[in-house]
């Protein structure tokens, strides 16, 4: 059966670029023959990647605007919200453009973007974070159950000890137990987690560099 074989250009590109950059980590620039070339080539690819990352962010913003614009034009439930998103996005961009060309970006008294940020973005985001304490409190209450396992009890106990030891000055808790828990036991656990994360990252990166995973669609 004849198969239509397409050369995986994208995969070749990703593997080649990734390979060069990876080697740049482990082969010093002072290494003979290839050290300098690899370092230069890897650095160049890093620069390209930085620019592409910025472009990718811009593409994401354009897509966000397009999606909300489409929602705004079509009748829907969140039509007004999408319209607000598009309008405020354009307005903020215009304000920033004004700030940039007028040199007001670094002037806190004149910067329009600073004004918008300080009085709209900051209050909303901080308030959203403040809401979290109520939800977390409710979650902590629900953790108390009759049929609680040992590990759930340990979790709750450590949580209470660290919370109280952080905010209050409780003898022996604040100066002994809480530091011991945080600096020894918790570090042991988080170190194991970090090692696992590192191994997982390594495996994922190798899968990409070997062409097994192709998230770019190649």
């Amino acid at each position: 059966m004849k198969q239509n074989f397409r050369f995986p250009w994208s995969a070749v590109l990703a593997i080649a670029v990734g390979f060069v950059v990876t080697l740049g980590y482990f082969i010093p620039s002072s290494a003979p023959v290839v050290g300098g070339t690899l370092a230069s080539l890897g650095d160049y690819f890093l620069q390209v990647g930085v620019v592409l990352a910025a472009v990718a962010m811009l593409v994401g913003l354009i897509n966000l605007a397009a999606v909300h614009w489409t929602r705004f034009r079509t009748a829907g439930e969140n039509r007004l919200g999408s319209g607000v998103v598009v309008i405020t996005m354009i307005a903020t961009f215009l304000l920033g453009t004004i700030d940039y060309f007028w040199g007001w970006l670094e002037d806190p008294n004149r910067s329009l973007t600073q004004y918008v940020f300080r009085h709209i973005q900051l209050p909303v985001e901080r308030s959203l974070m403040a809401l979290l304490v109520v939800i977390l409190t409710y979650m902590a209450i629900r953790m108390f159950r009759r049929r609680m396992t040992v590990y759930q009890a340990v979790f709750l106990g450590v949580f209470m000890v660290v919370l109280l030891g952080t905010g209050l000055d409780i003898p022996y808790i604040t100066d002994t137990v809480k530091p011991w828990l945080s600096n020894v036991w918790a570090v042991a656990g988080t170190r194991g987690l970090l090692l696992g994360i590192g191994l997982g990252t390594l495996a994922s990166g190798l899968r990409v560099l070997s062409g097994v995973d192709r998230p770019y669609g190649g």
Partner: protein, 878 residues
């Protein structure tokens, strides 16, 4: 259930399969029968079943080139020359079709299957052609071995031009009238061959010799549930059918009750041939074989039948129940009128073709060449196969598929030519050409020339019980019809799965032959047009060899494991384990989900109210519940690291936190910046988050109110570094001037007048790097990308409390200092002694901590007191 035209129903399991499939995808049963069922579209596959019995009559050793005919179950297909032989059969009907009679009107819509019928005509002719040993009278006839009595019929037919069409009648039909008397003494070759093969002596008619090998039976006889066929008929690689077969009674001699002898005619027909005549074929010239016992007054020709032909057929006595036993039941059709037959279009068979035929014969011809009658033919397999061939005329109901009717079998549909030759033969015998046998009872004379026993040599007739009704003929009855109908219903019910009718226990071979009512009749002959020649095996060189599998020899569903496989205990253990794993994979793990507290919204409002009141109280009263916490080791290290900085030391500050946690992070950032500014460090601000520059400017706006720091003199803001870890790696790899050429506001950052960047080329030129972040990814990025490259530059972190446990493992290695959370900021303020926001908020914070802890504990106790209302549910089940 409506059958979709694009799907066919498996006769075995009843499941729907795509129409293009040849084999059921579930049970591997053959969907498209190799032999065409009665009433189905004419197909070559049907014909082999019909022609098998004749093919078996041929000499086993005289097979030549696959000239058994397509109807042979051994998979052989007739040679092309055989088709020529039978063309005359087809041409007879074809000529007659031009002048349709009222009862045989043919609608235009029914002309279409003519092409398919033509193919079947050839196939049907093959069995007749195969009997022709000598192509003497009919040109183009294949060289097949025919018994003498058949040969003479053929010659007689050749002498009758009007009786011939493009294809010629077989000799035994054409030369029926001229069958010499002396031939009655000679054993038909087909019988001789059988005798020679099976070692049955001539004259052992009626013996109940056990067939050599029941599994070797093949051909049409295999369709009879109680027929036992001779061996060695199967020449293909097909497996022999399971179960034993018993010969129909008419092939037996002794046990069959002699019928009332009819008037002798010149030609004495064997029983099975005499039954063609409803009232006695060739009444004047032939004797109904059912009525004329072998060995009766008239000299009969005895044929040396093989044992398989001699076995009794005790269960069925179709002949006895047949009111008109002259014709064999398999030739009798249920409806007397042609137009009542649901088989082929009646118009294809003009009346003249049937004038000498028994209704059953006519039905055979009609049904075998007609279109498929869905739902009528396939479900009567359970009926006694004998019944399918021999049905009393009165049992036939118009429009119904009678059990045991020809349309329910898989006999090849007779072609028009076939019907024509029979009618012609009948007319020759009777001398009543042009008369429809429907209008007048076809007399035995019509076929007397063919079935005149006197014309048969004794040797040929030996062993054939021509005097008595075969049992299996006699037993055709309404009960059999009902039984078949019930079984058909049962078959359908089994498909629907709702009734409790017991399913008939069919032998496997018989069940495999069950006509499929859901098979869509292809408009074109199912027989492939091109001839395929077998290239390997014992059948090499033969044309149109049937494939290994056959509808008759149904391949059962294979076992789960090969019988010869040895499995050890440990392997079985592993198998069980794997099965359990696979079974548990489908089972959702029940998850115990605690039900929410009663009135959750009210509960949240209560929590919010409590916290609000506590905070307001703390703000209003200024109550201090706890002093500022003591700094930890990491906080002290940070303080010490900054304290060691000389005045004007360049410090890179990364503001990498989001506006959401700026309430906490601003506290930490301010205390650290306060300390740095107090130390007079030259600050460079960067950010790896898009909102970082805004955060930096907001922070600077606050700091500049307390410290007299000048932009571009003591601090500089270089803006955003995209790319995350990759961007940080560029900071390490490239000179900063290349990476950060401009300030946040767009001015050139590397102006010599920009003192904060004097002498700065790489990151290692900085005295310290302070990263203030609330995200673990940003912290890890700085640690992993920048940390290993730093030599003498300290890496200090100001982090949120939520990130501190994940940064702490790096402390002591690449992280030189850590100030975490509200408490860390307050503790650092305690170290610096500079009052700041951390101290102002600490009282509120500490009170809120205490209140929160109390609320959590009290609420938890209430939850403990309440009954356990958790519920188990499977993931994704709801």
């Amino acid at each position: 259930m409506v059958d979709k035209p694009r799907e066919v129903r498996c006769p075995m399991c009843g499941r729907l399969n795509p129409a293009e499939n040849d084999v059921c995808q579930y049970c591997e049963a053959r969907l498209k029968p190799l032999t065409a069922p009665l009433g189905d579209a004419p197909s070559g596959a049907n014909q082999p079943d019909e022609q098998d019995w004749l093919g078996d009559l041929r000499s086993k050793g005289d097979l030549s080139g696959g000239d058994e005919g397509e109807w042979e179950d051994d998979g052989e297909e007739p040679l092309d020359d055989q088709r020529d032989l039978l063309d005359w059969l087809a041409s007879i009907d074809g000529e007659e079709a031009e002048t349709p009679s009222p009862p045989a009107e043919q609608s235009d819509s029914e002309v279409e299957p003519a092409a398919a019928e033509a193919q079947e005509e050839v196939d049907l002719s093959a069995w007749l052609a195969s009997l022709d040993e000598e192509q003497t009278t009919t040109p183009g006839q294949p060289e097949v071995e025919l018994p003498d009595w058949l040969r003479e019929y053929r010659s007689q037919e050749a002498a009758e031009p009007e009786a011939e069409s493009a294809e010629s009648l077989p000799d035994w039909l054409t030369g029926a009238e001229e069958l010499p008397a002396e031939e009655e003494e000679s054993e038909p070759d087909f019988l001789k061959d059988f005798a020679a093969e099976d070692g049955v002596e001539a004259g052992e008619v009626g013996s109940t010799a056990t067939p050599a090998d029941p599994e070797e039976y093949s051909g049409w006889m295999a369709e009879f549930p109680e027929a036992k066929l001779p061996s060695a008929e199967l020449e293909s690689e097909e497996t022999s059918p399971e179960g034993d077969f018993e010969l129909p009674a008419w092939l037996l001699d002794e046990e069959a009750e002699p019928e009332e002898p009819e008037q002798d005619t010149e030609i004495e027909l064997p029983d099975w041939l005499a039954e063609f005549d409803e009232e006695g074929v060739g009444a004047g010239e032939s004797v109904s074989p059912a009525e004329k016992p072998v060995g009766a007054e008239e000299p009969t020709v005895e044929y040396e039948l093989p044992p398989w032909l001699l076995e009794e057929e005790p269960e069925t006595d179709l002949a006895a129940e047949s009111p008109k036993a002259e014709l064999p039941d398999w030739m009798q059709a249920a409806p007397l009128e042609v137009d009542e037959v649901k088989g082929p279009p009646v118009e294809q068979f003009p009346e003249e073709q049937f004038e000498d035929l028994e209704p059953s014969q006519e039905e055979l011809l009609l049904e075998e060449s007609g279109e498929e009658k869905a739902g009528e033919t396939t479900d009567d397999v359970g009926a006694v196969v004998d019944d399918e061939y021999f049905i009393p005329e009165e049992e036939a109901e118009p429009g119904d598929s009678q059990p045991g009717s020809l349309e329910e079998t898989e006999l090849p549909a007779p072609s028009q030519e076939t019907a024509a030759w029979l009618s012609e033969l009948a007319s020759e015998v009777e001398g009543k050409p042009g008369e429809s046998f429907l209008e007048e009872a076809p007399e035995a004379e019509a076929l007397s020339s063919a079935f005149d026993l006197e014309s048969f040599p004794d040797e040929e007739l030996e062993g054939i019980n021509l005097t008595e009704e075969p049992e299996w003929l006699a037993e055709v009855s309404q009960d059999a019809a009902l039984q078949a109908e019930e079984q058909r219903r049962g078959f359908e019910t089994e498909e629907g799965g709702e009734e409790d009718l017991p399913r008939a226990e069919l032998p496997e071979w018989l069940a495999a032959m069950r006509p499929v009512d859901a098979i869509v009749t292809p408009p074109t002959p199912s027989r492939p047009s091109r001839v395929e020649i077998e290239t390997s095996g014992p059948l090499a060189g033969l044309q149109d060899v049937l494939p290994a599998e056959s509808q008759i020899f149904q391949i059962s569903k294979p076992d789960a494991r090969p019988s010869g496989l040895e499995i050890s205990e440990s392997q079985q253990k592993h198998i069980r384990m794997l099965e359990e794993m696979l079974n548990t994979e489908e089972q959702a793990t029940p998850v115990s989900i605690p039900l929410p507290l009663p009135y959750p919204r009210l509960f949240r409002w209560f929590i919010t109210l409590i916290l609000f009141l506590a905070a307001l109280y703390a703000l209003w009263s200024g109550t201090s519940l706890a002093d500022r916490p003591l700094p930890g080791l990491e906080t002290q290290a940070t303080y010490a690291a900054i304290n060691r900085l000389p005045s004007g030391a360049p410090v890179l500050i990364a503001i990498d936190y989001e506006p959401g946690l700026s309430g906490e992070m601003d506290v930490i950032a301010q205390v650290l910046l306060d300390h740095l500014m107090i130390r007079g460090a030259s600050l460079t601000f960067v950010s790896t988050t898009p909102t970082g520059p805004l955060q930096t400017e907001n922070l600077l706006a606050e700091m500049l109110t307390r410290h007299n720091y000048q932009r571009a003199g003591q601090f500089i803001h270089l803006g955003y570094i995209p790319g995350g870890p990759a961007g940080l790696q560029t900071l390490v790899s490239f000179p900063l001037q290349l990476i950060l050429p401009q300030t946040y506001s767009g001015y050139s950052a590397w102006d010599p007048r920009q003192t904060p960047l004097l002498g700065i080329e790489t990151l290692n030129d900085y005295a310290a790097i302070l990263v203030i972040t609330d995200r673990h990814e940003a912290a890890r990025g700085w640690i992993e990308q920048v940390g290993p490259t730093l030599v003498d530059t300290g890496l200090i972190f100001g982090s949120s409390a939520q990130v501190e446990p994940l940064i702490r493992p790096y402390y002591g290695g690449m992280v030189d200092g850590l100030v975490a959370g509200q408490a860390g900021g307050a503790a650092y303020e305690r170290l610096t002694g500079v009052p700041g926001q951390a101290g102002r908020q600490w009282d509120v914070f500490s009170l809120l901590v205490m209140v929160s802890a109390v609320v959590i504990v009290l609420g938890g106790l209430v939850n403990l007191v309440l009954p356990d209302r958790s519920q188990s549910s499977s993931l994704g089940g709801e």
